[in-house]
């Protein structure tokens, strides 16, 4: 029902933007024009969600109910915190998010964190579990084995 919107939301920032966009769209339902979209300060990201929500909302018989349902979906998304060594390109972010949507679920979003000390790889925090798969830890494990040999 909300797959088109949720499919586009990849990060916690997207969730916030989508929630704001839902509020703006709801307000616009009671006004004569959509000019109040200007309050989004022309943010491309936020505007993207407005257009998406408006597009989805056109087919819905009870628009307010649909918007409320969207808000609940947005509140219920699962957050996967991924710590990486360097900030990723948009393309890389899209690939990671796509993988998560395919393998974990549509209602999952990423909260990014950058830590150059990790060197590479990532540290996953999900459902209260932290799994360190960083290059730093892998190298440390390697050096431990190396020390054990020498």
């Amino acid at each position: 029902m909300y797959s088109r919107v949720l499919g586009v939301i990849g990060t916690t920032e997207d969730v916030a933007d989508a929630q704001l966009a839902a509020d703006v769209v709801e307000e616009s339902l009671f006004k004569t024009s959509l000019n109040n979209y200007q309050q989004l300060n022309d943010s491309a990201a936020k505007y993207k969600f407005v257009k998406l929500i408006v597009g989805e909302l056109g087919d819905q018989p009870d628009k307010l109910k649909w918007l409320e349902g969207l808000r609940q979906e947005l509140k219920g998304v699962s957050v996967v915190r991924l710590a990486v060594a360097h900030e990723l390109t948009m393309l890389a972010v899209g690939k990671v998010v796509g993988w998560l949507k395919d393998n974990v679920g549509m209602g999952v979003v990423v909260e990014w964190e950058t830590d150059s000390g990790l060197l590479g790889g990532l540290v996953v925090t999900y459902s209260g579990r932290i799994t360190d798969l960083s290059l730093k830890t892998r190298l440390a494990e390697y050096w431990d084995k190396y020390d054990g040999r020498t």
Binding site: H86, T89, V124, R129, T131, K136, L139, W143
Partner: protein, 197 residues
């Protein structure tokens, strides 16, 4: 009465005359005795002088003889003393020589013993010192070796730490964005395998 008185006077005169006569005689005798005494005294003085002179001469003579005798005795005594002295000196020299020889012998003996004791002690001391020095040297060498190993291990540890840090840094920096992404994707796959996701 007058007669009596005259008689008495005459008697008295007679007595007086007698007394005077006796007195005169006594005076003469006294004078004579005085002369005798002086004469005797003179003679006695003369004799005494003679005796004194004789005695003095005799004394001088005796003194002369005594001096000569004394000189003779002194020379004799001196000679005797010289002889005795020479003899005593010879004896003394002999005794001294004997003592010297005895002392020399004793000293030689004691010196020999002392030298032996000293040599023995020195050798023992050298041996002990040598052993102690060797022990101390070995101990120090062991300490040096231990310290060397510890330092080398510490250095090795530091070196390895530097190598690790450098290697980590180099590996981290030399990874391309594609490599990073590949690592991330592989990590996600691994997380899935571990049921983390």
């Amino acid at each position: 009465m007058i007669y009596v008185l005259a008689f008495a006077v005459i008697v008295l005169l007679g007595i007086l005359g007698l007394v005077l006569k006796v007195h005169d005689r006594l005076l003469r005798e006294f004078e004579h005795l005085r002369e005798d005494r002086e004469s005797w005294e003179a003679r006695a003085r003369q004799k005494a002088m003679a005796v004194l002179e004789e005695a003095r001469d005799k004394a001088i003579e005796i003194l002369g003889e005594a001096r000569i005798e004394a000189e003779s005795k002194r020379d004799s005594l001196s000679r005797k003393l010289d002889r005795v002295g020479e003899r005593e000196l010879d004896d003394y020299k002999q005794v001294l020589q004997n003592i010297s020889v005895s002392i020399e012998s004793q000293v030689d003996k004691e010196m020999g013993e002392f030298r032996k004791a000293l040599e023995s002690g020195t050798v023992e001391a050298q041996k002990t010192i040598g052993e102690k020095m060797e022990s101390r040297y070995n101990q120090m060498m062991a300490e040096v070796e231990t310290e060397k190993k510890r330092k080398l291990a510490e250095l090795d540890k530091k070196l390895v730490a530097v190598i690790k840090e450098t290697a980590n840094s180099v590996i981290g920096k030399t990874l391309s964005p594609e490599d990073h992404l590949e690592l991330i994707m592989n990590s996600l796959e691994e997380a899935k395998k571990r049921n983390v996701l």
